[in-house]
């Protein structure tokens, strides 16, 4: 108990220095938290992937389409529950800065393979009946003020021409990790017009989404799908949704690795700041430590004193830093376009990582001063002048 009080008093001796150190730590821990959140953002898409969904795409690259006729063939494979499909429509809404996913989907099945997109039944029925209607995610509805009945004009690029879609529903995300920034409309509406304008491109599907009954069968069903079309000009590559999403972000690996590396440099900087403070404090107290030793306090007490102070400061800094991470992340996600970054929130892992990093820093920063305090002989310590 006495030692605790001494630790506390010690840390208050240089109020300015201690508070500067805590502030420095807090800022660094906050930066660490924000950076990890940005990293998590990329991985969150992978986390959100369901285990019972497979994605079948053209084997060469997903920019090439698959024939619509594959649908029935895939549906016949035992273990397949529903086959749905989607096309990446892209296009431009007003100008290129307003980016969000726009996809042509099968209205009957799409929402049943994605149960995490919640639409109310009445809106869904109207959507199904009207060819030129669309359903938008709650997030973009909020951002652009889309209401039921609004007409969204889109300038096509992959599907050239001017298109108009009537909002007939707004879907809500079921989980925090559900992407609520998509705009979904009828595949047949697009396909009919393409049939007239560019007949060579009609009847094509971007990728198939296959809902399977038993996730354990994912590998064998994937193989069966690919075997069906192996010798056709449009061979498929089927994998779990998770693997599919992962392959999307693997291209950014270098950038993610760099960010990961930087997030650990931050810890290095925290260590330098706290280490510096602890070395200075211990140096100034060299004489005191000699006095304590003379009075009969053991090496253990000295270790406890220095380590305790280091940990106390680290804990205060980390606590403050983690607390400020939340408002900062909320602020960033408010200014960032939702369409680009649908998954931006602090995960528990970030908090645990931040806290344990601070703890580690607290330990490491005290090693050097402890070593010095223990090595100094009492006589030398008493003789020491600042």
């Amino acid at each position: 108990m006495r030692v605790l009080k001494l630790i506390f008093k010690n840390s208050l001796r240089h109020k300015l220095r201690t508070s500067l150190t805590i502030l420095g730590l807090a800022i660094a821990v906050m930066a660490f938290g924000v950076l990890r959140t940005v990293l998590d953002m990329w991985n969150e898409g992978v986390e959100a992937a369901a285990a019972n969904r497979l994605i079948a795409r053209q084997a060469v690259s997903f920019i090439f389409p698959l024939p619509y006729s594959y649908r029935d063939k895939i549906a016949k494979i035992p273990g397949v529950e529903t086959v749905s499909f989607a096309n990446w429509f892209q296009g431009v809404y007003i100008d290129k800065n307003n980016f969000f996913a726009r996809m042509a989907v099968d209205p009957e099945t799409f929402f049943s393979v994605y149960p995490e997109l919640l639409v109310n039944q009445k809106e869904f029925e109207t959507f199904k009946q009207e060819r030129n209607s669309c359903i938008v995610g709650a997030e973009i509805a909020k951002q652009y003020g889309f209401k039921i009945g609004d007409v969204i004009p889109i300038e096509g690029d992959i599907y050239p021409g001017k298109w108009e879609f009537v909002v007939r529903g707004i879907y809500q995300p079921r989980d925090k990790s559900t992407d609520a920034t998509q705009m979904l409309f009828h595949w047949t509406y697009i396909d009919e017009r393409i049939k007239q304008d560019m007949p060579g491109r009609a009847g094509q599907v971007g990728w198939y989404i296959i809902k399977i009954k038993d996730p354990a069968q994912a590998a064998s069903i994937s193989e069966q799908v690919d075997a069906l079309f192996k010798n056709s000009p449009n061979a498929t590559k089927t994998e779990t949704e998770r693997a599919f999403t992962q392959s999307f972000i693997s291209g950014l690996n270098s950038l993610l690795q760099a960010m990961n590396f930087v997030s650990f440099i931050i810890i290095g900087i925290i260590m330098l700041v706290l280490g510096n403070t602890m070395i200075m404090s211990a140096r100034e107290r060299t004489r005191e430590y000699a006095v304590l030793k003379t009075l009969g306090f053991s090496a253990g007490h000295l270790v406890g004193l220095i380590l305790g102070e280091s940990l106390l400061i680290a804990a205060l800094g980390a606590g403050l830093g983690l607390l400020t991470t939340y408002p900062i992340v909320a602020g960033i996600s408010a200014v960032m376009p939702k369409g680009f970054f649908p998954y931006f929130f602090v995960t528990p892992t970030t908090i645990i990582l931040g806290a344990s990093a601070a703890l580690l820093v607290g330990f490491t920063a005290s090693i050097f001063p402890i070593q010095r305090a223990l090595r100094t002989r009492i006589v030398d310590g008493l003789r020491f002048l600042g």
Binding site: L20, A31, I63, Q90, I158, G251, V273, M280
Partner: protein, 389 residues
Amino acid sequence: MKIPLKYTLRNFKSRRLTTAITVLGIALVVFVFAAVLMMAHGIQKTLVATGSQDNVIIARKSANGEISSIIVRSDYNTILTLPHIAKSSEGKPLISGETVVIINLPKRSGGLSNVCVRGVALEAFTLRPQVKIIEGRMFTAGAREIIVGSSIAKNFEGAGIGKTVEFGGNTWTIVGRFDGGGSAFDSEMWGDNDQLQDAFNRRGGYSTVTFKLDQPDAFNAFKAAFDREPRLQQFEPKPEQTFFAEQSENMTLFIRILGIFITIVFSFGSTIGAMITMYAAVANRTVEVGTLRALGFRRRSILSAFLSESLVIAFIGGVFGLLLASVLQFFSISMLNFQSFSELEFSFALSPSIIGWSMFFSLTMGLLGGFLPAVRAARLNIVNALRSA
């Protein structure tokens, strides 16, 4: 009277560890700051090098990149009727309708990535003189042959000469390797346009059309003629350099914003580190400061002595950080450019403005960190300072 700089420098010796830690802290921040700017600059440099000043590229107005643009043959023929398209000595127009697609290939470092495959006409090589075959030979028109950029050969599995790649229901033989002079073409595969269109079922449709202007400054005249053509309203001509530079915009903006946010936050940490060091320096030297004042040194001199001490620390840290960062120039990174959705190799590139900003940044940290402690030192009362022991 000024306090000699030697006094300042000698002081570092007496507290080596603390000074070294502070220098290291600042060096790390400057390193990250410079590295981020170098990365963004490297991407930009590569893409700017991809376009030539007197080439014009035509793409669909709404397209974000080459792969989402489509120009059908009849529109291509309309473009051919426009003025200011340069002609070769044989009188053929120097124009290349190109088909750009993406295929997946396994990277050497693991995982699949997107590689841009460009179907070109032979004119493409006149349009881009920076592209040269450095190994093997050109593809033969009419054959299923491709040539690969040097970065592709380096970073992707099975992209060497003599190897074959399967796509579009066909086997393609790699017959040559070309160097794109540090441009994005280094990260592409090129083949005969007709063959590629055939394989990808894109007959009669190009992605983009690139041509050379007959005079370097004819772009505005060309654009005026282009805008008058009612059949081409969905398309937009751009100088090739501008077009490719725009391909780097999103990526460099993302890297810069993130990087600058990180470094600004980092710099708070380091400034505080410098402040702690300087406060300790002042506290330890109270008697010294008193002595100096008693000898007749002015408050102003004390202030500038402590400030210059912290600026020297920051300067050393800045130089050290920049030295570390400049080593990065020897590395190149290959990653996905999410605007063109294909792999792009680039290297970290240092520029005088990056050096300037980094040094400015580190000296600012030193100035901010040293100012308050220096003020405290300057305001010490002579008698009290001498008495404190």
